[in-house]
Assembly symmetry: C2
Homo-oligomer: 340 residues x 2
């Protein structure tokens, strides 16, 4: 009479041990005092039936899942992987498990939030590199679902972000200090559902130029989606301008790679004839020796997880934007201006 098909239920265990279900539950959760002899009988029954409690039933009863959800765009954002690793790390010593949900389109984003916003799939939510619609923020608050925004800013959620204006300025100043005067910029047109940090980086670029007394040339400022080949196209346009730039600041590493490819195709040497700087410092950047502004990707995830855990523990989390430090990483794609 072995329980071959399907899984045993708590009632089966109770029956076999000759006790009530409440007692089995108590043994399972180590709750109240159960007489040692009884406990042993129950444990024997559990072993004999190869029993494991249903987590779904448990969740329903406890109103708790011990899962935290993360919604983020995988594909459109290679840096997201690094952030997830930080989240995993931040969660690793906690009893919470992680459920990752990929949003690569607006439609998927809606589905992701529908999945989580009622608060019964996960006990907490990390929203990474994507901007929750206003209605969802509302719903999440109503559900009492703790939520942290990573790589994005929203006035009514705790956020982890970086100073994009400062970062854009940092990148551009580096080029200026190398003697460059003709500095172009490739910005990132974010999809609808993503936070638009690119605008701020562009503002930082403009500010650095102004402070150095260099005019902002509209024909040097372009914008396109983050895709590598799109950036390559834009860079090609810039580099075939009659008065071509000697340096290009790309709003992301991916776009910087596109720029490098364009330069290679045109036979323009980097960094001798052209300096290129990116933003993010994704893993690949060190392999191709790209100069870039490093933002702490891993750390952003870790910190987000940390704040979420604090909220889950019932301790208060301030609703404010926490800025992580940026760092200029000089490698081999930037050098002195050839014009200098």
């Amino acid at each position: 009479m072995e329980p071959v098909s399907g899984s045993a239920r708590i009632a089966d265990v109770a029956a076999r041990a000759g006790v009530g279900v409440a007692t089995v539950s108590r043994v399972l959760n180590g709750h109240a005092s159960v007489r040692p002899a009884t406990r042993e009988r129950v444990l024997d029954a559990i072993r004999a039936l190869n029993y494991r409690p249903s987590s779904v039933a448990r969740n329903l009863s406890l109103q708790r899942t011990m899962v935290v959800g993360a919604v983020l765009p995988w594909f459109t954002n290679p840096s997201a992987v690094q952030r997830v690793r930080g989240i995993v790390e931040g969660l690793s010593s906690s009893p919470y498990d992680l459920m990752v949900f990929d949003v690569e389109s607006e439609d998927r984003q809606r589905r992701a939030f529908e999945l989580f916003d009622r608060g019964d799939r996960a006990d907490g939510l990390l929203v990474v590199s994507t901007l929750p619609p206003e209605a969802e923020v509302e719903r999440i608050r109503n559900a009492g679902l703790p939520c942290i925004l990573v790589d994005g800013i929203h006035p009514s959620l705790p956020c982890i972000a970086v100073d994009d204006v400062g970062g854009g300025e940092m990148a551009t100043r580096h080029l200026i200090e190398l003697g460059h005067r003709r500095i172009a910029h490739i910005g990132d047109t974010p999809p609808e559902f993503r936070f638009d940090w690119s605008r701020d980086r562009t503002r930082g670029y403009e500010r650095a130029l102004e402070r150095a007394g260099i005019d902002v040339r509209p024909d040097y400022v372009r914008e396109g989606t983050r895709l590598l080949h799109v950036a390559r196209g834009i860079a090609t346009e810039l580099l075939t301008l009659p008065d071509r730039p000697t340096a290009i600041f790309a709003a992301s590493d991916t776009q910087a790679f596109g720029t490098l490819e364009a330069a290679r195709a045109l036979g323009i040497r980097v960094p001798e004839e052209l300096s290129v700087i990116g933003f993010d410092d994704i893993e690949v950047a060190s392999y191709v020796a790209l100069t870039t502004v490093r933002q702490p990707l891993f750390e952003s995830g870790r910190r987000g997880a940390e704040l979420l855990l604090r909220a889950l523990a019932g301790r208060p989390v301030e609703v404010r934007t926490e800025l992580l430090p940026l760092e200029l990483i000089v490698r081999r794609t930037t050098g002195p201006s050839p014009a200098a």
Copy 2:
């Protein structure tokens, strides 16, 4: 009287619409016939209360979650990310959502399986680049949980894998054809919980040498964990041998990168003085122009998802190992033997 705190339940909707819960459920699921006027009343109540059904309660009742789980090692295996992308792609047009669980240690692996093996967290399971313990395979079968193994082989599960012996042979033959005779090999010592494909690649290496009439030199065959710096150490040993190899076949791209770093540190030029070939063709490989044996990472995930969906649809899935094709990708880290 707005429902400010907590979420509305189906009973609230029923009460407000003046109908029974069964009717609300029918409207929600578009099941049996509901009179249009009644349906409208229910829909109004749903809107007014901002109601969304609890997925947990739904799961419990339906014994179905519409989620598929994936357990895989993130950190120890950069190629895993690529496989996940394939899985996401394969699932994208299905009604199933994906829950990713990271296993970077044996302990985490146990937890992952405990989470899924009862079959109530997810309707199906994809096990990627990690080998489920025998007891778990048993339990998964008992729970009737469809399960596909990706990048691993187990006699009682449908598997997606590659011909590692053939791949090792392919890589080594490429080096032989370039005139190399002193060919070393760096194998991968897998952690306990991972499938040991490295042994097969080593066997392929040996077979290729034998077929070419080249003796297998024990001092040319080393093994270490997959970590980059470990491989760098091993490569350094190999390259400081009195009779140093002119070519090295690394069992993974990560280890090939370690080898390249070792060569650079020793001032040995690649490919003029040393040829290096890897295995996997992870994304970075194309950036550093690494010659490698490509295994279809993305495709393995996509195909695994496809098989799982078939199983979930109730159609039979053969318990057999499906081998995906390998391809030699020649880039710029291999060249003619300097000895030739």
